[in-house]
């Protein structure tokens, strides 16, 4: 264990980088690009330090620091990671350099762009490592602002509409959460925002339910759960590539992460009470997102709806009360970040070449750009959960975990896997297969080395998680188990509790 | 029925009458003159209440200086013809009159119901001050001691007002002489001067 506070360095390094970029000369756009790339790579390197220092065997949070910030108001700077947030942090730092690479061709105000991107990274890392609710809320809102500008200034088409929608949706949700946080603050004796202090606060179950709904409003919008999802297709579609990647890869996970880090532990009774509702919403999301994705005409929109479906799996796994579901859900977050991130990058590359995202404008690309289409197919397969690739492990564990406690819900949820094949393969067919009908499609270039450089790490990880998820699961499991026990004190992580076990029978009644 | 009562009564009628006459005067010059009458009437009420210095100011500054300024501007702009009495804004007049009536009723109500809250020291205290050290000196003492800072602030206000007026009334041609398109380097934007 090293003495360096890797985690805190990782959180604030991008912010420092953003300031640095702000002071770079405006005339040289390349400087800003390289600075952003170097800073994000350095952050990734620092986060590797976090990963190395992380002791899988230790319970609870580690590697963080604690300092009083505003004493009179009970606000502290408390950070730390457990097996869940560790991977979220890693995912963020990993995707960020790729996002910078994907933005290499941003021509308009590159300085501001990259500074905002880096500020976004600090916000995201802060969200995943804060253990003080004030700090958490601060970082939570910090992510909102850069994203708003990234969509609103560097987006496409209806970017203003999309940015406003994104902003308002999330803000409405998070204001409700703020109210709940404030309530918690005053309910905690002595008044404190620290998660540990708040966890010690006893609340009546009626109060818990209201507060849970306050948190849930914020997180459900962010995840997003149907029917709070309609900001997502617009935001994803209009955002610049890196924005879409970050949005799908990390920002959505903040919602799911918030649910399991705050909503469940703080209000376990309420969480239990709302489990049927949330499972229903998640399952509806899986099927609904997939069904809607089938008929989308815009590639990015299609992927956005696939995110709705995939995040449905994540939330489903978190609330079924089995460690399989929980771990699977968390792994699915990582997987989804990788495969959907890759998909958005690929669509971004297509857009750079053809300046369109309409599926109908393509066709027969498999012949003109074989390598690109091969990579695309590979990522599509990962997204539809082909065993051996990353998507399968998470989905399988989520569905298994669901089945163990709620056997009927698994039927529509598992059918989502079939639907995923339908919408993605149909889209693949329309874009890459068939004859080349448009002259413009015949002339486009295959992937270049920069694009290969940014896709290769993703592809390697997609296979790695699919084939050997053990390093991930070994770190996730203990943390997941703790959350499961918070949700259901009777749960036993070492047992498979199933339909033949008597306990589950009672629950099914 | 003392003399003071009588004087007040006359002043009351003159002040209100000339104010009302202002409202109905179609000529701006007439309105200005009615305002002068009202101000003089007010000066009388000041005198009645022992505010001699203020009464003098009222006559000199208001009725004298400010009203002359008004008349000067009226003449300068040549708007001393009769104003049209048509009201283009619907509901403006009834609204104004209605609200005015309400306001008057409320003020009268408050005055007569709430006068006791203030407490009446009677005119004796002022009379005593006017006798010793005298009204002007007493006012000056208060003004230059307790109200020194606001007093100095008013000087700033006046300076700013003077500068503002100069900026506002400067003619466009004065500026245009300084900055013509020909003098500027090619491609530089011609600065719009708002007047």
């Amino acid at each position: 264990m090293s003495d360096l506070r890797f985690l805190d360095i990782a959180i604030f390094l991008p912010l420092a980088g953003a300031l640095l970029i702000a002071f770079l000369p405006r005339s040289n756009a390349n400087l800003a690009r390289w600075a952003a790339l170097i800073v994000t790579l350095a952050t990734f390197a620092v986060s590797i330090g976090v990963l190395v220092d992380f002791e899988a065997s230790l319970g609870g949070f580690q590697l963080g620091s604690e300092a009083v910030w505003i004493k009179d108001w009970g606000i502290s700077y408390i950070t730390g990671v457990d097996g869940i947030s560790l991977w979220m942090v890693m995912l963020t730092t990993f995707l960020m350099p790729l996002g910078v690479l994907a933005s290499w061709s941003i021509g308009e105000r590159p300085k501001a762009y990259f500074a905002l991107l880096l500020a976004l990274e600090t916000g995201m890392l802060g969200v995943f490592s804060s253990l003080d609710l004030f700090l958490f809320y601060l970082f939570w809102e910090v992510t909102l602002v850069p994203m708003y500008f990234l969509i609103g200034m560097w987006g496409y088409g209806r970017r203003i509409y999309a940015a406003m929608k994104f902003f308002l949706f999330t803000l409405v949700g998070s204001l409700l959460m703020l109210v709940a946080i404030m309530f918690m603050y005053f309910a905690t004796e002595p008044n404190s925002f620290s998660l540990t202090d708040m966890l010690a606060t006893e609340l009546s179950s009626g109060t818990q339910r209201w507060l849970f709904l306050g948190f849930f409003a914020s997180f459900a919008v962010k995840v997003p759960l149907v029917p709070f999802h309609t900001w997502l297709p617009d935001a994803h579609t209009e955002a610049p590539t890196a924005g879409s990647v970050m949005l799908a890869g990390v920002l959505l996970k903040m919602g799911a992460y918030g649910l399991l880090r705050f909503a469940i532990p703080l209000f376990p009774d309420a969480a239990r009470y709302f489990v049927p509702l949330i499972i229903a919403l998640a399952t509806i999301g899986i099927v609904y997102g997939a069904v809607v994705a089938i008929v989308q005409k815009d590639l990015k929109r299609l992927i956005a709806y696939s995110s709705v479906a995939h995040l449905g799996f994540v939330v489903l796994g978190m609330f079924v009360g089995t460690v399989q579901g929980m771990s699977g859900g968390i792994l699915q977050m990582v997987s989804h970040g990788l495969s959907t991130g890759a998909l958005f990058m690929l669509v971004g590359m297509l857009y750079e070449r053809r300046h369109t995202r309409q599926i109908a404008d393509f066709g027969g690309l498999g012949k003109t750009i074989p390598i690109f289409s091969g990579i695309f197919l590979f990522v599509v397969l990962s997204s539809i959960g082909l065993p051996g690739l990353n998507g399968f492990v998470g989905e399988f564990l989520v569905l298994l975990g669901t089945f163990l406690n709620y056997r009927w819900w698994v039927v529509p949820a598992a059918f989502g896997v079939v639907l995923a094949a339908i919408y993605l393969l149909w889209a693949y067919q329309r874009v890459f297969q068939g004859p080349v009908t448009d002259e413009a499609n015949a002339r486009i270039a295959d992937v270049n080395s920069r694009e290969v450089a940014m896709l290769a790490p993703l592809l390697v990880l997609i296979v790695a998680i699919g084939v050997y998820p053990k390093p991930f699961l070994d770190r996730i499991n203990p943390a997941a188990c703790r959350v499961v026990i918070q949700l259901d004190p009777d749960a036993d992580c070492s047992r498979i509790e199933g339909v033949v076990a008597p306990r589950a029978h009672e629950e099914d009644e | 029925m003392t003399l003071e009562m009588v004087v007040f009564g006359v002043t009351f009628v003159v002040a209100l009458g000339s104010s009302l006459a202002m409202v109905f005067a179609r000529n701006a010059v007439h309105a200005a003159l009615f305002l002068v009458i009202a101000q003089v009437a007010l000066a009388v009420t000041f005198l009645l209440q022992g505010a001699y210095f203020v009464a003098a100011l009222q006559i000199i500054v208001y009725a004298g200086a400010i009203m002359v300024l008004f008349l000067f501007v009226i003449m300068l702009l040549g708007v001393d013809k009769r104003d049209a009495l048509i009201e283009p804004l619907p509901a403006q007049r009834p609204l104004a009159v209605g609200l005015g009536a309400l306001l008057a009723a409320e003020v009268i109500y408050i005055v007569f119901k709430g006068i006791d809250l203030v407490g009446d020291a009677g005119g004796e205290a002022i009379t005593a001050l006017n006798r010793d050290p005298g009204n002007v000196l007493a006012v000056a003492r208060v003004l230059f001691s307790r109200y020194l800072l606001p007093f100095e602030a008013t000087s700033i206000l006046l300076v700013v007002a003077v500068v503002g007026v100069m900026v506002l009334t400067r003619r466009i041609s004065d500026v245009a002489d300084l900055q013509t398109p020909e003098d500027l380097p090619a491609g530089a934007p011609v600065k719009e001067i708002a007047v």
């Binding site: - | 002040a15 000041f46 104004a96």
Partner: protein, 102 residues
């Protein structure tokens, strides 16, 4: 000294203030509107003087002094604005200046 109750003076001030307000609303000539504003300020001055008498100190009279200064500054600036507008539009009608809306 005085037999006239202060309420009468205040009532006079209130009525004059009201007339000034109504006049400012119904007239369209900017200069006349300014006159009504002056009238309202004068009414307030009367109230100040009356309050000074009621309270038996000179603070009210000093405030009249300040009102006077403000009125002077306001008139000067206001009239300058009117002159500027008149130069542009050849009109002192406030209803002609209505572009700043919606």
């Amino acid at each position: 000294m005085s037999e006239v109750p202060p309420g009468f003076y205040l009532a006079l001030a209130g009525l004059m203030f009201t007339i000034g307000a109504v006049g400012a609303l119904v007239r369209r000539n900017a200069i006349v509107i300014f006159m009504f504003v002056e009238l309202m300020l004068n009414a307030v001055n009367l109230a100040f003087v009356t309050f000074a008498r009621m309270r038996g100190n000179l603070d009210g009279q000093v405030l009249v002094f300040f009102v006077l200064v403000v009125a002077a500054a306001e008139v000067v600036v206001g009239l300058a604005i009117i002159v500027s507008i008149f130069r542009r539009r050849a009109s002192a009608d406030v209803d002609d200046v209505n572009l700043l809306k919606w």
